[in-house]
Symmetry: C2
């Protein structure tokens, strides 16, 4: 996952579990695709496959919304699209302000999925006066000074932060002060907000690091497997056909040796190859 939520203590809202809320957009997307193909009804099994989840989970999720299905038939696609849209609050207009029009901010401004589904970019804000007045994705970039009036005039309640990490908290404070109560944060920083303000973060660097962890693990497992097999093969070749027990022991020994090597490397306090002493703030 690329996000986390800084929520108050309340975990579920109006009885709908947070985990379910996070999946509703997924269902909605799948349903929209079906709707476009004029499919009238869909079973939980089909829809679950399309959304990439378990059908039992999907049914339980829908059960929190009410009983919208017909037993023996499935769910009415159009009806469900409407119900989920309503539940997510997508039947109304959500003006959004994007702060920080760098590469990422510009990409977000031009993102198609943004405009659809009730979200409307109400304004682009950047602190750099050289950017002021420039056209990005058909909108005029305004200076940070205009942040508060923009928010109040347009009734913005959702803000997107795409500034450098250093500026994020200050921008966040101003957004909240001006009345924004939901923030989508792309800056690699932890934002502190008062109760009642929701923050979700999207963090590239964190996602990559999680992938790297699993990647390393996969490589390690393979290596251990290779080592174990090699050791087992060697042992078998050397001692002839003793028994399965020997191979098992050899495998364990190989694993232990690898562990010790890692431990030894650890003590040096210095990584392998080009391990810089750590600096870059991701």
């Amino acid at each position: 996952m690329a996000t986390g939520r800084t929520h108050r203590t309340a975990t579920r809202s109006r009885g709908i579990p947070e985990a379910t809320v996070a999946r509703l957009p997924l269902y909605l997307r799948a349903l929209t695709a079906l709707s476009e193909r004029s499919v009238p009804t869909v079973s939980s099994e089909e829809l679950a496959t399309a959304a990439g989840v378990n059908s039992a989970k999907l049914r339980k999720d829908f059960s929190y919304l009410g009983s919208y299905g017909t037993r023996g038939v499935g769910y009415d696609v159009e009806y469900l699209v409407y119900q989920i849209s309503r539940e997510l609050g997508l039947t109304q207009d959500w003006p959004v302000v994007i702060v920080g029009i760098g590469n990422l901010g510009a990409a977000l401004a031009g993102y198609g999925g943004f405009a659809s589904r009730g979200f409307r970019v109400a304004g682009l804000i950047d602190a750099d006066r050289a950017m002021t007045g420039k056209q990005v994705a058909g909108l005029t970039v305004r200076h940070t000074d205009e942040l508060e009036p923009l928010i109040k005039e347009s009734g913005v309640s959702i803000g997107v932060i795409a500034t450098p990490a250093g500026a994020a908290q200050a921008v966040c404070n101003r957004l909240v002060e001006a009345g924004v109560t939901s923030i989508l944060n792309f800056a690699p920083t932890v934002l502190n907000v008062p109760d009642g303000v929701d923050v979700r973060k999207v963090d590239l660097s964190i996602e990559l690091q999680i992938l790297a962890f699993h990647e390393q693990r996969k490589a390690g497992e393979e290596a251990e497997l290779r080592d174990a097999e090699a050791a087992a093969a060697a042992a078998a070749a050397q001692s002839g056909a003793v028994e399965g027990g020997a191979a098992g022991t050899a495998g364990t020994a190989a694993g232990t040796a690898a562990g010790n090597a890692a431990a030894a490397k650890k003590r040096t306090g210095q990584g392998p190859d080009g391990d810089v002493p750590a600096v870059m703030p991701a």
Copy 2:
């Protein structure tokens, strides 16, 4: 959170819970900041605050890595930076390929956090021949035809998909076929991958929809609260000062009334203000 994982059944790897792995980059970032300020040691409490988590959680997370702290003192910053980096696999080089050099792909290519921490953009790929040869963030864009050779030559095991949704699955298949085992997906689609391949997704649209849900809920609660208060005030004004019990009763009645009003509003299938009937039920 902006991501989800399409993992095999294995939930924890090498004894480290997935939830902990997802937080390690957070700790690492906070520790790196401390390291730059030459802070020698840090307590779990301080570090937890900096990372935006609970201190007990942090200690438990670290306990999965081993006993790296000193009781009564705290954790050695440099040592911990190294340990976490190693655990996440950041002490080695991870060549990454970015496919789809549109607005977003270009932004990603130029993202600073990408280059840091062992991640290196090994190549940019785009299907549009008009893009081929162009320079983006100091790198030359290559055509999709060169995808497989690039991956094999550079030993890429992590791929980033920033293509339109329609092309994502095809690109994904080619990446996996060519040997990529970790994918970061920015396209708004569910990707199907074989076992052993990790997929994490970053989805703008989903994040916004989740925020909209909470935003709507907050607005609804406020409205109910206002209604209840208004009703209570009216009741109190009308019946004068009967007694504490009356006020309590009035409050309860108002709450119930508000609940009914909300329920009624729901039944109409018509939301508040500009709630279009969208597609409406069948």
